[in-house]
Symmetry: C2
C-alpha cells in the first residue's frame, strides 16, 4: 500500500498535479480493452522526462512498490493491468516528437507519443512508421508489446523498426541502447530484449524509430470465395509465389455479416480476402493485379472488387478498419476474447478450418493478418457467465494448442500479459527458464509489471 | 591444459578420429583471416550432433575448460581465435540441411552448413538465404557474428532471418528458441540475444532460417564519378528518395586501380558505385533505371555502364566479388586490417571524406555497403612492423571515433571479436554493464569464447 509519505515523495518528483489517487483516475488505469479482471493501482503518476521516470523507479525500488507502465490502455491481454496494485506510470505527459530526420528515415520520440499522431506528423515528410496496430496505441505501448498489424506482412513488426532506446531499469539506472546506423554487429542485441518485454524488464522512455517512405502507388482487391478453404488456399498461393502484398487480410462470412448489418452494407456474406499492393508504377501494379486475379479465379473466387490508386484502396479497405468497432457495437454488454495465434503459412488453411469447427457454437468472428499466418477470433461473450465463458476459454485453449502443434505461437501480436501466461511453458519449453533467469537478473525484486509472463 | 584423461573423455563422446591435437590441426584453428595474433587451442573436436555438443560442453564446464565454436575461420576480427586455448568445437561434421520447406520459405540446418552450399541447394526451389557475407562462411558462423553483406540493404542481416535456434548453454543444457510463424509477441526475444553473441553465450547447433524468393528480373549499373563526394552524395540521394536497391556498393579509385592491375581491366580509375535493382518486370526496371541515371547525372557521373537481365548483372558485378582477393594478391606478405564502421546515411559523405584524409598515406582501399552506410577500409600492412602498424591502428581508432560521433557503430558486420573490444565502452556506455551482467548470468565460469567482447 501507498502511504501519505509515498505520495508526498512522488509529488516532489513529478509535481503536485501529476500524481493522483482519484477514484476515476484509478478506475481508468485498472483495465485495458480486454475481458481480463481489472485491478486498481494505488496511485497514478505522469512523469515529464526520463529523469523523473528514473527517480520514480528508484523510489519504487527502495520501497519495493510495484511499478507498471501505461500508454493508453488499448492492449488486449491485460498487459498493463496493475494486478499487484502499486504505481502506474502514465506516459501521457511525454508525447514529444523530439527530432524528425527525414534524410535518414528516422525519428526520435518520447514513449507517450500516439502512433496515429506520429504518422500524421511524419506524412508531411513523405514518411511513416509502418507497424500499424489498429488501435490508438502509444509508441511506448507498441514497443512494450512488439505490436504489429496489417502492414507487418510487408514491413515487419515494431521490433524491426527500433534503432535506439532509452530505458529505465528497475533500480532507476538509465541506459541508452543502440545506434543510428542501419546495421551493426556490436555487442549483445539489447534492443530486442526490451522490445516485447511488456514493461517487465524496464520502462522505455524514448526511442529512435526507423521509418519508411509513404507508398505512391496503390492497388487493392476485395475478393469473396465460396468456402473458407478457397480463401485460405489463395493466401498460401499468393504468399508462396513470392508476391509482397502491403496487406493481406482474411475475414470470414460472420465478419462480413456484422459489417453489413452495422454499416448498412450489402457485401456478399462469404469468406473474403482484402489485399493491398504498392509498386513503383501503376502499370506494374496493373500487371500484378492480373496475376492476382488469376490466382483468385483458380480458387473459385465469386466476386472481385478492385481498384488502382489511393482512393480506391481506401474505399476497398474501409470495412477492415471498422471491423472491431462493429463487432463490439453488435454485441452490447458482451466483452471480447481475442484469439491471436500465428502459424506457418502452409498450416494456415488447416488452422482456420480447425478454428471454424471449434467456435461454431459461439459468437465468433474469424479474421486476421492472413499474409503473416496470424489468425484472430473475436469471441463476444459475458465473462461473468461461468458456463458460457468456460466454453469460450476452452475453445481458445484448443486453438492455441493446435497452433503450437503446427510449430506456431500463442500470440502473433497481442503479447502475453495475463491471458497467454499459461501457454508459455508449452510454447517455450526449456527456454522459458532462461527468460525467468533474465527477469530475475534485471528485476530481482520483481517490481516491474508483476504478475505477467511467468 | 588438456590432460590425457580429458582427451579420452572427449574421444568417448565424439569418437576417436573426431578429436585431434595434431600440430597442423591446431595451427589451422589458431587464426581467422585477420591480422590478429594466433593462439593455439589445446584440442579440436568435431561433434556430430547437438547431443555431442551438449556432452562436450558439460565436460568443459565441469573441468572449467575454455570452449570456442568454429565454422571455417573466415571472420575478420579474431572472433574465433581461442585466446585462452582449451577446446575448439569445429562444426564441419554438422553440415546437414535437415529440411527445406519451400512452401513456408524456410529451411532447417545444422550450424556447420556452408552458406554458399546452402544457397546452391535452395536455388532448386527458387529460394535463397539473403545475408551474403562474401566469404565461404558457415551458417553457425554467420549467426554467431550476425553477418551481413551486399544484399543487406534490401533484405536485412542474419538477425532478420532467424526463426528458431537450438542452443547449447555453457552448462550443457540444450534449449530450443522461437517458432515457425512469421511473427510472434510471445515472451522475451532470446533469438536476437544469441544472434551476434559470437559464441560467448551459447553454441548454436541448429537453426530455422527464413528465406526469400530468388529475384526474376535484374537491373544493374556501374557508375563512375569525378570526386568521392559526387558518389557518396548520389548514394544518399538514391536511398533517401525511397528506392530499394538490392545492392549499392561504393569503391574508391584505389580499389578500381587494384582491380585493373590484378585482373587486367581498363576501368576508369575513379570513385565508383555499383548498383543492383530487382523488380516485378523488366519494363518497371527500365523506368527505374532512367530515374537512377538522372540522379547520377545530377551528381556529375562520368561513365555509366548498365544492363538489364541476370547476365548483365553478373557482368557488372563480377569486379565486386573479386575485390578482396585482388587486394590481398596485390600486397603479398602483408595482412589486412579492415575498418568496418557504419553511420547514418546523412553522415555518409562526411565520413568517407574524413576517412580518405586519414588513410592517405597508407595502403588503403575504401569501399563498402554504401546503401547501409557501412564503410570498409582495407589497410594492407605488416603487423610485425611496429611503427607502420601503429599508424594503421591509429587511423582505425580515429575512424571509429568519428563514426561514433556520428551516432554510428564500430562494426557494421564483422563483429567485436578481439579487434573491437576497446570501442565497446565508448559505443555502449552504461548498457555495456548490462551486457556483462547477462554474460555472467549465462556463462558464470566464463568458459565460452573467453577474451572476447569485454
Amino acid at each position: 500500500m501507498i502511504s501519505q509519505d509515498d505520495l508526498g515523495n512522488l509529488k516532489a518528483i513529478a509535481g503536485e498535479q501529476f500524481v493522483s489517487t482519484g477514484e476515476s483516475v484509478l478506475n481508468l488505469h485498472s483495465h485495458d480493452e480486454s475481458y481480463h479482471t481489472p485491478a486498481l493501482p494505488d496511485v497514478v503518476v505522469w512523469p515529464h522526462s526520463t529523469d523523473e521516470v528514473s527517480r520514480i523507479t528508484r523510489y519504487a525500488f527502495e520501497k519495493k512498490l510495484p511499478i507498471t507502465g501505461w500508454g493508453v490502455g488499448t492492449s488486449l491481454e491485460g498487459n498493463p493491468i496493475p494486478v499487484n496494485h502499486g504505481i502506474v506510470v502514465d506516459f501521457q505527459e511525454m508525447q514529444k516528437v523530439i527530432a524528425i530526420r527525414p534524410e535518414d528515415f528516422q525519428v526520435d520520440v518520447q514513449a507517450g507519443v500516439v502512433y496515429k499522431e506520429l504518422n500524421k506528423a511524419l506524412s508531411r515528410h513523405g514518411l511513416f512508421f509502418p507497424p500499424d496496430p489498429g488501435a490508438a496505441a502509444t509508441i511506448g505501448g507498441m514497443i512494450g508489446n512488439n505490436a504489429s498489424g496489417i502492414r507487418t506482412v510487408k514491413y515487419g513488426g515494431t521490433k524491426d523498426h527500433i534503432m535506439r532506446l532509452v530505458v529505465v531499469l528497475p533500480g532507476g539506472e538509465v541506459i541508452r541502447i543502440g545506434n543510428r546506423a542501419r546495421k551493426s554487429s556490436s555487442g549483445y542485441d539489447l534492443i530486442h530484449l526490451f522490445v516485447g518485454s511488456e514493461g517487465t524488464l524496464g520502462l522505455v522512455t524514448e526511442a529512435t524509430l526507423r521509418l519508411v517512405g509513404l507508398p505512391a502507388n496503390f492497388m487493392a482487391l476485395r475478393v469473396a470465395f465460396p468456402e473458407v478453404k478457397n480463401a485460405t488456399d489463395t493466401v498460401f498461393k499468393i504468399m508462396s509465389s513470392g508476391f509482397s502484398p502491403a496487406a493481406m487480410e482474411f475475414l470470414d462470412s460472420n465478419v462480413i455479416g456484422v459489417l453489413n448489418r452495422d454499416r448498412n452494407l450489402t457485401m456478399e456474406e462469404r469468406p473474403t480476402l482484402l489485399m493491398e499492393f504498392n509498386g513503383f508504377s501503376n502499370e506494374g501494379l496493373r500487371d500484378e493485379m492480373d496475376y492476382i486475379e488469376e490466382i483468385c479465379a483458380e480458387n473459385s473466387s465469386t466476386i472481385i472488387d478492385k481498384g488502382i490508386g489511393q482512393e480506391e484502396r481506401d474505399r476497398l479497405w474501409e470495412i477492415r478498419h471498422l471491423t472491431f468497432e462493429s463487432l463490439k457495437r453488435q454485441h452490447p454488454g458482451l466483452l471480447p476474447l481475442i484469439v491471436d495465434v500465428a502459424v506457418p503459412l502452409s498450416s494456415y488453411s488447416d488452422t482456420v478450418a480447425f478454428i471454424k469447427k471449434e467456435v461454431s457454437e459461439l459468437n465468433a468472428y474469424v479474421f486476421g493478418h492472413a499474409g503473416d499466418g496470424n489468425i484472430h477470433v473475436v469471441v463476444m461473450d459475458d465473462p461473468a457467465d461461468g458456463f458460457r465463458w468456460a466454453k469460450v476459454d476452452e475453445a481458445n485453449h484448443r486453438i492455441v494448442e493446435k497452433a503450437l502443434a503446427f510449430e506456431g505461437t500463442c500470440t502473433g501480436e497481442h503479447g502475453v500479459g495475463i491471458g497467454k501466461r499459461c501457454f508459455l511453458p508449452d510454447e517455450h519449453g526449456d527456454s522459458l527458464e532462461l527468460m525467468k533467469r533474465i527477469k530475475n537478473l534485471i528485476d530481482p525484486e520483481g517490481i516491474f509489471n508483476p504478475g505477467k509472463f511467468f
